[in-house]
């Protein structure tokens, strides 16, 4: 029996070394790979961002607000913490995680649109958290969405389960720093070098109200969203909500009736609070040009540059 237990321990010991070794090697590579979503998370939890301006939003926030351009034009440091496919609950959680280690921003730019108020029950793009499962802050966040994260830190390699590509990428990243074109991030912003393709499935979802816009209490939700920021920021901090350009096909489906309540409420809050601003750019010259979009929902890199510059000019006026 002693020999068998020794044999088991030996196998277990070697397996642990090999698995933890592979995991460490991959985690390390992924965290080090500059200009990626994972590296951005690493900088956030290490408190290396500390920007004056923070941009937040869902995929439209993440892919459309060029933080570098905006920052340069405002002459302030700027970082995008947008959450691809993340509803307002995930965006808020990400902002809270940001505040744990970074200093409070003086300006918040929050992307807003009708789908902003949808709440996630599952984590999108879970792979972005893979190297951080053992990090206390990230673990307590992801565990809210899936119980498996409770035990993943203790079983080596299991967090890479079904994601062999990510493990491979992490290991290679120790030797090479190349990042795939559309995965690259600049100050947290992810420019998409893609040409326009109509996303009929998304348009269909709007037509059939699969987003359940009619069930959302926009008035209350937006009030809570604004309060969320003011509760966390310094008194003189500015909170700017921006409705970025919608593609012409979506404009015809979404407006005016569905967005009206939301716009009215944003305008009302703006008139009552000098530190709150609403910039309405949903119907813009960009809206009519397919070449600035990669689908009806998102601007591509060119569109994002044009929009970001226009937005920065408007914000500069507000801040001055």
């Amino acid at each position: 029996m002693k020999s068998f237990l020794k044999y088991l321990l030996e196998i277990l010991f070697i397996a642990l070394i090999v698995c933890f070794g592979l995991q460490y090697f991959s985690d390390n590579g992924l965290k080090k790979l500059k200009g990626t979503k994972i590296n951005d998370w690493q900088n956030i939890i290490e408190g290396k961002i500390n920007s004056d301006v923070i941009i937040n939003g869902s995929s439209r926030g993440y892919f459309m607000y060029n933080a570098k351009n905006i920052g340069e034009l405002l002459n302030l440091s700027c970082f995008n913490i947008g959450f691809n496919a993340g509803g307002c609950n995930l965006q808020q959680s990400k902002f809270d995680i940001y505040l744990k280690k970074n200093r409070k921003p003086t300006v918040i730019i929050q992307n807003i649109d009708l789908s902003h108020f949808l709440k996630n029950t599952e984590l999108p793009d879970e792979w972005q958290f893979t190297p951080f499962i053992n990090n206390e802050i990230i673990n307590s966040f992801v565990t809210k969405y899936d119980d498996k994260y409770k035990y993943l830190p203790y079983i080596p390699l299991l967090k890479y389960n079904q994601n062999f590509q990510l493990l491979k990428k992490g290991i290679i990243a120790n030797f090479s720093s190349s990042v795939t074109k559309n995965d690259k991030t600049i100050n947290g912003f992810s420019p998409q070098d893609r040409i326009f393709k109509i996303d009929y499935h998304n348009l269909e979802r709007i037509k059939k109200d699969k987003y359940y816009f009619n069930e959302i209490d926009f008035r209350n939700e937006i009030k809570e969203m604004v309060c969320f920021y003011f509760r966390r920021l310094d008194k003189d901090a500015k909170v700017i909500f921006v409705w970025a350009p919608e593609h012409k096909l979506r404009c015809s489906l979404l407006f005016p009736e569905k967005g009206k309540i939301l716009i009215d409420e944003l305008n009302r809050i703006e008139s009552n609070n000098k530190n709150f601003q609403f910039i309405d750019m949903r119907v813009n010259e960009i809206s009519n040009h397919d070449e600035y979009y990669y689908d009806t929902y998102h601007l591509n890199a060119t569109g994002a540059d044009i929009f970001s510059k226009e937005l920065a000019i408007k914000i500069k006026e507000i801040l001055n």
Binding site: F4, I11, A15, P156, L157, N161, F164
Partner: protein, 475 residues
Amino acid sequence: MFFNSLAFAIFLPIVFFLYWFVFNKTKSTQNALLIIASYYFYSCWDWRFLFLLVFSTFLDYFTGIQIEKSNSDRRRKFWFWLSISVNLGFLGIFKYYNFFASSFAEMFTSFGFKVSPFLLNVILPVGISFYTFHGLSYVIDIYYKRIKAEYNFIDYSLFVSYFPLLVAGPIERATHLLPQVKIKREFNFEKAKEGFSQIIWGLFKKVVIADTCAIYANAIFDHYNSMDSLSLILGTIYFAFQIYGDFSGYSDIALGVSKLFGIDLLRNFNYPYFSRDIAEFWRRWHISLSSWFRDYLYIPLGGSKGGLWMKIRNTFIIFIVSGFWHGANWTYLMWGFINAIYFLPLLLLRKNRNNTDEVDIKFRFSSLKTLLNILFTFGLTCFAWIFFRAENIFTAFNYIQRIFAFNIDFQNLKGQISFTTTFVLLYLVLLEWNNRKIECPLNGKLSKVKILAAIVLILLLGEFNIKNNFIYFQF
């Protein structure tokens, strides 16, 4: 409690520890612990099934003794048929009643009579086909005086309900298992080591091979209407590996777990996809069931000793009954029927025992023939698996029809192939081929390296998110 669940990962070490450190004083204490563990294991599915298991155990224990004690032939026959009919009666009620009732109703409806059948609202108790067959073989062996009746109820209960084989086999024989149960087991390092590697290999086959292939096989079978011919062929290959990984994986875990307790179970699989003809395939696939039907059905019916018609009749009976054993569905019957068709020419030409030697391939011309025979046999098996996997007989025929439409769409095919699945299947085939002379490919040379690789692959590629039950639990 599945073998690939966290609950089992906790259950097994606890029972192992108690067995060797607390209850190892006598054979009786060892057996008592294993019975408690087995009943707990079984009750984890549904505690109500326990009544059936206990009743079945009592019945065969009691009738076994009565058969042995009876002086007259009439009394022996009475007890024998009582056991057979009650055992098969339970199986019939739980497994086949609804099938026959609705099939007869459909038949009458097709003749213009409207019949609404009385269907039972019962669920199939897990493993009923397996433990019923345990009991049947025991009673039959006593009746034919091959073994003595077991008078120790604890020992007999363990023979029926031993948890590694309780829900999906292998189907044990009293001649093989009871003698092991009747002596105190001493810890054997080599056996335990083999058991451990067999558990790891079984787990690899289940969570990496079977569950990964299941994703693709399900996608293809569930949408066969929109698939091209090559994708449909690929779907059958995925299913062939899914069912192999699933069932042989389960058997490996069962055998491995049992070895940890010092008990050897019957080998259930012997690399069946390396078979050179269908007869060899059936000597290597689900061996405990094939040999059960051979010994308790085929040989009593006359086997292959009678005339031509008797041979044909017996072959069809054994394969169709074997198909029906798997489930109450026409698809299983058809699967059995097709295998009988495959087997018959070999039997009639007396070639059914041609390939009893070790399969080998070397760089010479005769090896090409062997390789082609293996591929041909695998192709035949895959074809039969279509019926096994299809929802119903019509779906199976439509599926085959679409294969022979020779509609080729490489774009569609590309969507059904993944690097990971190809890699793991190649790994499985190569590892099994190189180690086909031993029971578990992880044993032998470089054992620790192979175990380690399997552990890494399980953690990395194992399918843990989907709730994939072992296919054979439903039988």
